[in-house]
C-alpha cells in the first residue's frame, strides 16, 4: 500500500508563489493526517509572520492543498517495494551555505527517518545556519516521494501486463539504472567497504559563500525563472 517509505508518513511541500512581482519560496514537511483547518491556519500565520501581502494566504493554502490532494490520490494504491538501495543526492544552497552530497538509501526500510539524518548531518558538519537542516530533510523526502510514486505506476504496469511477463522483469528493466545491485556488491567478489578512489564521490561538501557570491547566484536564478 502506498505510503512514504519512512517512519513518519510525512509529505514534502514546496511553495513557489509569485504575486505582483513578489516571490515567496518555501519548503517544509507536512503531516497529511493533520486536519484541513491546519492548512489555512498555517497559511495565515506564515503570511502574518513574514508580513506578506494578504493575497498570499489563499495562494499558499491552495498550493498546499493541491499537493496534499495529490498525495492522498496515491494513497489507496499498491506499490511494489522491493529491496532497493538507491543513491540520493543533495545539491542545495540555503542562504550562504552550499551543500553537496550523495549517499545510498534503503527505500524498502519503512522505518527510515530523513529528519534524523538531516539533524545528524548538520551536527556532524557543524553547520551554523539552522535553515539547512529542514532543507536537507525536504530534499530527501522529495526524492523518496518521487521513488514511491514511480513504484505505484510500476505496480500498475505489472498488473496490466500479465501473460508471460512477470512484473519483476518490468521493474528490473526500468529501475536497472538506479538500483544498486546488491548481489554484485555483497557477493563473493565484492566487499562492503568502498574503494578508496570512490571516497571523494560520497563525501559531503559544505561550502560557505560570501554575500557577493550569494547575490550573484540569486540574480542568475531570477533570470532563469523568468
Amino acid at each position: 500500500k502506498f505510503r512514504m517509505p519512512t517512519a513518519e508518513n510525512l509529505v514534502p511541500i514546496r511553495l513557489d508563489i509569485d504575486i505582483d512581482g513578489q516571490r515567496f519560496k518555501d519548503a517544509f514537511t507536512w503531516n497529511p493526517s493533520d486536519p484541513d483547518s491546519e492548512v489555512s491556519n498555517f497559511a495565515k500565520r506564515t503570511v502574518k509572520d513574514l508580513k506578506l501581502p494578504p493575497a498570499f494566504v489563499t495562494q499558499i493554502s491552495q498550493s498546499i492543498q493541491t499537493q496534499l490532494a495529490e498525495f492522498h490520490s496515491f494513497e489507496g494504491q499498491d506499490m511494489h517495494i522491493k529491496e532497493k538501495i538507491v543513491p540520493l543526492k543533495i545539491d542545495l544552497r540555503v542562504n550562504n551555505t552550499v551543500i553537496r552530497d550523495q549517499f545510498l538509501w534503503d527505500v524498502s526500510n519503512l522505518e527510515s527517518d530523513p529528519e534524523e539524518f538531516a539533524r545528524t548531518f548538520c551536527q556532524d558538519m557543524d553547520i551554523g545556519d539552522p535553515e539547512v537542516g529542514p532543507a536537507i530533510a525536504v530534499s530527501i523526502r522529495e526524492q523518496l516521494y518521487e521513488i514511491a510514486t514511480q513504484s505505484v505506476s510500476s505496480a500498475r504496469e505489472a498488473r496490466v501486463g500479465k501473460k508471460g511477463r512477470r512484473g519483476s522483469d518490468i521493474v528490473a528493466n526500468s529501475k536497472a539504472g538506479n538500483t544498486v545491485d546488491l548481489g554484485k556488491l555483497f557477493g563473493s567478489k565484492g566487499s562492503v567497504i568502498r574503494k578508496r578512489k570512490e571516497w571523494y564521490l560520497y563525501e559531503p561538501i559544505v561550502d560557505i559563500l560570501s554575500n557577493e557570491e550569494v547575490g550573484a547566484l540569486d540574480a542568475r536564478e531570477e533570470l532563469n525563472a523568468r
Binding site: 517512519a7 513518519e8 491556519n41 509572520d49 522505518e111 539533524r119 548538520c122 551536527q123 557543524d126 563525501e203
Partner: protein, 483 residues
Amino acid sequence: MTSAPPPAAQAPVLSPTNPPPPQQLPLSSPVSAVKSEVPVAESRDPPASVSSLPPEPSPVPAAASYTITIPSCSAWFSWDQIHDTERRILPEFFDGKSASKNPGVYKYYRDYIIKRFRGNPSRKITFTDARRGLVGDVGSIRRVFDFLEEWGLINYTPLVKPSAKEKRETDEGSEKKEIPRRICTNCKSPCGMTCFRTDKADIMLCAKCYVRGDYRPGLSSTDFKRVDVTEEIKTDWTDKETLHLLEAVLQYGEDWKKVAAHVGTRSEIDCVSRFIKLPFGEQFLGHEEASENDKPHHKNDEVITTPGEENDPEQDCPKRMRLTPLADASNPIMAQVAFLSAVVDSDVAQAAAQAAISALHKVDIGGGIQTSAVGAKDEGSSAADSQVYSESLNEAITEAESQLEKEEKDVDQYLSDIVQIQMKEIQDEIVHFEELELLLEKDRLQLQYMKDLLFADQLSILQHKPRQVSKDGEKVKPTNLVS
C-alpha cells in the same frame, strides 16, 4: 579524508548576540516560587491563567545585562528535564507511537525555540522563524511552539510592562468585565460563550472543536462537560465596596434601592446576597433569619437519623450552608453585644471595641467579628475604626471559610454513613432473596420427583393392563391416563 568534527552539544543555534553558553541561564527557580505556589496549583488551564492572573514575573538573571522573565506558572521549566506538564500537553512525543517522535526530538524543538527567542528577547519569535530552523513536520513544531508561547516561555518579555499597567487600571474599574479568556486547546482560538472541558486530560475545547470531534483518541464526547463562560465570572467584593454596603445599610436600613445606589457598582440583588453572606449580616436583620437557620438544621438532623428515607439530603445541605455561613455558634453572644452597644454611649462603645480588639486579636478571631459588629453599629465610627473593621472583616472571612470547610467535611461524612447503611440494607435483602430462591428450588425438585413417581406408576399400570386382558379375557375399559 577529513575527520568529522565532534558533534555540537545541542542543535545548531542561531544566537549571535548571546556570547555566554546557554547553560548559564538558570531557570529552575524554586527560590522565586514562594508566592507562585497558589497560581501554579490553580492554573490548570494555562492559556487563561497567563493572561488573566496577575503574572508575577520571576526574574531570572541572565548572563548578559537583560533579564528573562517567565510567568510563575511556568516555574517548573528546566533545561535538563522534561516536566510532567509538557508530557501532559504534548503527549504525541511521549506515547511511543512513532519512533521518530520521541522525547529527544521534543527537547530538541523546545530548546531550539527557547534559545532562539532568548538570543533576541526584545523581538518576538514567530512560528515561521522557528519552523524554518527546525527539522521536522510543521504540525508538531507548531504545537510545541504554541505550547511554549501560551506558557510564557517564549515571547513573554515584551508583555510585562504593559500588562502591569493594565492590571492597575482594570483593578480600579469594574471587575465584572474581567472575563477569564478561555482558549481552546485544539484550535487555539478563544472559546467564546461556551466551552467544553474534560478533567481527564485537562483540555478545553470550543464548541466547534467539540462538535467536530477533534479531540485526542482516548476521550469520548461523554467525558466533556459543558461550561458556560458567563457562569464562571466571579466578582469579588472589595473591601471598599463592603464598607460602602455596610454604611448604606446602616443609613438606609432595608431600602435596597438606596443601598445599591450608595454602593454604586453593585445591583440590588448583589447587595442583598452579599449582605446575607456576611458573617454578622443576620444580626442586623434580627432573629428571624437566625430562627430560619435553625429549621434547616433540624431537618438535616432528621434526615441523618432515618437513613431509610428516600429524600436526598444533599439538597438540604447546600441550602443550609448558603443561609448560615457560620455564625450560628455565636449568635446569642453577638445579640448580646449588639444590644449592649446600642444601649451604651458611642465613645464608651468605641473604647470597648478598641480594648476588645487588642485583647482578643491574638487569641480568637471570632472576637474580631464581635468587635467589628460593634464598630459597624457605631454611629460615630472614625476612619481608624473602619480600618480596624475591614481588617477584622478579613479575618472573619478566613474564619468563615475554615468553618465552612469543616461543615462540608461533616456533611460528607454523614453522607457516606447514609450510603453505607443503605448498602447494608440492600445486601440483607439480597441474602434474603437468595434464601427464598433456595427454598423454591427445593420445592421444585420435590415436585419434579413426585412427577416422576407418578409417571412411573402410570407406566406400571399400563404394563399390568395387557396381563389383565390376557388373564380375564375380557375387554378392559380403557383407562384415561392422567398425565
